[in-house]
Symmetry: D2
Subunit: 354 residues, 4 copies
């Protein structure tokens, strides 16, 4: 159920409608747009009696939502969601592309700094690296845990990169929420609804990866779980789906990008590293992802992939990432987009201009 | 890495090898078999230096395991795992078939008792029912929680049925471990490795459902996660995989039953309700599952499916379940198997025979 | 469009309606049933003007068909199609199961006779063997062609087995139609519509294999292509579909058997050899196929599989086929079905009883 | 088996090796490259005795081919295949992109001319249109047949567009070979090996569409069938594969483009119309296809899609195609490629420059 307010409705009127909704025992989600505010109602089982709301001052109409998703939907919020970060010019979902790069796993301080330096220099604004690794085998390297998070926090301080890293349970989510800038929920946990709800109560934006065989509707409903708890800063991420095809590890489904953009206001980025699982496919598919209209990329880079503790096969060498960035910049320009510099780089540019 | 003991090795020798392994910083998993004991080693990253172990008294050989799974493997334990329950003649994995039946979700005490009475009378030994429901939408009925668990505990007392129910996070797992007889891990959580590890520290057997697009190796590795924490009582469950086919909700992959039985000693049962998603397919596929050699079935039954709060479309009517049991009994007999009676029924039979 | 005649309609009335339909420029397909005759209309593009037909004597109603399939549908012909063979007691689609067995490819006369003797003795009524082999590589053995067909005709004469073999184009179809008893259309040609139409003009029944990623609707529409040309003797065959699963070559979709039986009157058999691609899975899946309700099996058997020119990996040894038949007979009995003897065996039984 | 000639081998030496191969009963396929000539051997069942060849003058080495494909492989021919057309500057596989556009089916002369005018003006060099339509239902419009081919030949004369159209059997292939410039083999016939062999004996280049669930190896082997008969002018075409995803009709697998380019010298183009099945996805996926490195596009355009006899849902309006071409041109430039003008346009340009 969705309450659409009149364009000229006052903030007070909006607040009154929200209070009424909560008095009825539901949850109200106020979503201010460029034109008007919409208020999503959740927590109802079945129909909400709409009569009481429809007659309140400032209300234009009350829409019964037939699609299962509400808060993720463009019907609820026609304008694109643009995710902002405190003290940073970088956004996700605006005209600029967000480039997230780094190693699969944080292995030690030296490795993290080496890779971070490469990707920062090439123009990435976000640093990725796993501290908690969901591995198919219990006997594989499972990540450094909090130690890895601390290293990434140092990376942010040193290179001005925003930190994206995965949480796999309540405990790690709490720590990631504390140390990182974006909380990643991995493909295997896309329908771990308890974790999604917990992420919905976190303060930081959530990067939600598509499950390996998730339909578009399931993908959006997973985002809905996060939003239904009050965290509206969700970034979707296509990372390949499982098919019969065996020339890549997964089949990157780029058509999901325009499909998401049609239905939802949330930004969507693409992970060509997991999406292909092969180093030599990452650059062509990165070009394609930007050309299809994605809001960014998340790419694995390692200064010494042959010795990486995980996923070395799909990690780019630093010079390959440089070349990728050069190509991606040009294709972004064709779509009227750019890759804005991160905070530090701007600061340094300013400084050096002195 | 696997240490195979000589057939005549003493318990003391086995204990000494385990102590040595743990002194080396690894975990030892003693697996006594009919012929000999094997000791799995986990916790090693890469190669264990095997020389020290090979020369200990009672050791026959030390095998480097090339397959990623160890504890689930028939190489480790050639005999079938038979799961037993305290004070109950019922097993899973022995010659008798395990029949688990009940509603998708526990809706209230009256519904649970009505369904339990039907399935007990028809010969099921286990009662299933969801107290924690992972639903695609955050706005759908999410289950009764602990209240539902209490109702199922009453069902056990009243009808002598063992209780199987799903846990979705640490909190619910703790409660399910307390109230139920078997902890179910659902398909969506098959690679929620934190939850698997937690289930590996629970006291009760775990019923692990195959993920919707899990390969056989991923399925076995998920069981390995549970076993690597010390809980060796794992039941696998095929419940359909996602394909392009649209005449059923999922495609039931019965070939995975002989495939699992070849590689692993763990029992495997089949869920034709989720596997097809259509009431009229449940009975033919149940017959097929028993014919292919599964160790049991898990079937949704509801006394009033048309009013069920979830998955009513795939729930059998009580008389359909009676007919299913009659057919399944006959096919089991062709394979030299039977459906043993549960405790209560035996007790009552004894009583009435007095 | 379908004209349903009254139960008491005379043959003359049926003939008159057919003539009227053809006078309108369409094709009429008279389908006599146990209760009444239905007449399918094909060849129309869009709507047929039904008024003229509805008022003819003996017509009960004229149904606009909304589903894309007409002639394959149970709406057109409620009774199961039972395919008969001249001078043979064997049928496909009646209460008896049809067992088709033989080598993947006919390699020479000696091999064909050796295998035929085994499968006839074990109780198969049909002999399969490829003379035209669709192989992934142009450099693989492509079959013996007409020479192979002649050998199979000899097999029929010698062992009383009916012959099933594949046609891959017009030329081979003409020869198969001449030498064999059943024309097989392989999975790769399931949507080779020119070949389907040609098969629809053949005199012999057609065994149509499901394409490797065909939906149920596409599968039925392929049968519709054959029937729309006048050949109503079509046997469907499930042979596994392509999925991500890698423990079998294909994923055998047994749920398609009850799904077909609900929508169509055509018989459906199962091919567990191609369906699994692994010898050790053929017997369990054969049991499951009979248990799910299939009308028969098509199984690869070779007297020396290790030297077979194609698909040796999935061919049963003769003693494995004997054991399979014994198990399948018992499961058939549970479903009230049996495996009737073929002509020759009956003849011999009669003779030896003298 | 592959005979690699020395760089300085004479034509006479190459000819001698070919004659020797054919004298041994095999077929020789001389493949001149920039550096050296390689000679593929086909027609052998199993090993060719290589000794006699290795010692001939001009031979550098004889390579036993382990991969099942030979003639399609870059090992056989390292340089990209560039397909040329008589009296036309247009190529497929060179630095220029090939743009094929037109309606799904030729409906009548007026429609064909209207669409052809649009696509020629926008810069396409090839006109596509179905005269023989493989349709799921026998009751759907099956194409105009030879009449349609004649209309397309007129389109070529009038607009200077090269004609691409599908053949579905021997008969239609013969006519298409006569009227058109490129013979299309559709996805449903990708493993219709008889048709592939027939196409291998045609004079015109073949556009081979990937089967709806074809692996990369099967796709290349289908091309191998055509080449093994002597027609080396094969263009591959990705057109989407079947997966569980339901937001598009098929899932366009763009990663197959770099995968093909790594293994094969054949050009590969992309069909975003069938690949997505939705008009609003065609433009973004066309951009992505060019960005990933495809050698061209094949796109459905209709001047009045809402009244198209087939696939109207996925056909672009003319102005949408104009916009697509504008974007695609810019992205091609980023990759150092362009969209060369076709013959007529050049001729007209020359004329008007006079």
């Amino acid at each position: 159920m969705l309450v659409v307010m009149q364009a000229q409705a006052t903030e007070e009127q909006v607040r009154a409608v929200c209070q009424k909704i909560e008095a009825l025992g539901y949850r109200a989600h106020s979503m201010p747009g460029a034109q008007r505010t919409a208020i999503g109602i959740t927590g109802n089982q079945g129909e909400v009696e709409s009569g009481t709301l429809e007659e309140m001052p400032g209300v234009q109409e009350v829409i019964r939502v037939s699609k299962p998703y509400k808060l993720v939907s463009r019907d609820t919020k026609p304008d694109n969601t643009v995710i902002k970060f405190p003290d940073s010019p970088v956004t996700i979902g605006g005209p600029g592309l967000a480039i997230v790069a780094g190693p699969c796993a944080i292995e030690n301080r030296d490795q993290a700094f080496k890779v971070a330096e490469c990707v920062a220099r090439a123009g990435a604004q976000f640093f990725r690296g796993g501290a908690y690794k969901p591995r198919t085998s219990p006997y594989s390297f499972q990540g450094m845990g909090e130690e890895g998070l601390k290293i990434m926090a140092e990376v942010r301080d040193r290179f001005g990169l925003l930190v994206v890293t995965e949480a796999v349970d309540y405990e790690s989510l709490e720590l990631v929420d504390q140390y990182a800038d974006v909380i990643q929920i991995g493909a295997r946990n896309m329908q771990n609804f308890s974790l999604l709800k917990r992420a919905g109560r976190a303060r930081k934006p959530v990067l939600l990866k598509r499950g390996i065989s998730a339909t578009l509707e399931e993908f959006l409903m997973a985002a809905e779980y996060i939003m239904s708890e009050g965290n509206y800063n969700v970034v979707l991420c296509e990372r390949g789906v499982r098919t019969f095809a065996d020339h890549t590890r997964n089949t990157l489904d780029l058509s999901v990008v325009p499909a998401v953009q049609r239905l939802s206001h949330l930004p969507i980025i693409v992970d060509p590293s997991h999406g292909t699982g092969k180093r030599n496919k990452v650059t062509p598919l990165s070009r394609a992802a930007v050309a299809v209209g994605a809001d960014g990329l998340i790419v694995e880079v390692h200064h010494d992939p042959d010795r990486a503790l995980s996923d070395g096969m799909q990690s780019l060498y630093p010079d390959q990432f440089d070349a990728l960035m050069a190509q991606v910049r040009q294709i972004a320009a064709v779509l009227g987009r750019s890759i804005p510099a991160s905070n530090r780089v701007r600061a340094e540019a300013t400084t050096s201009a002195d």
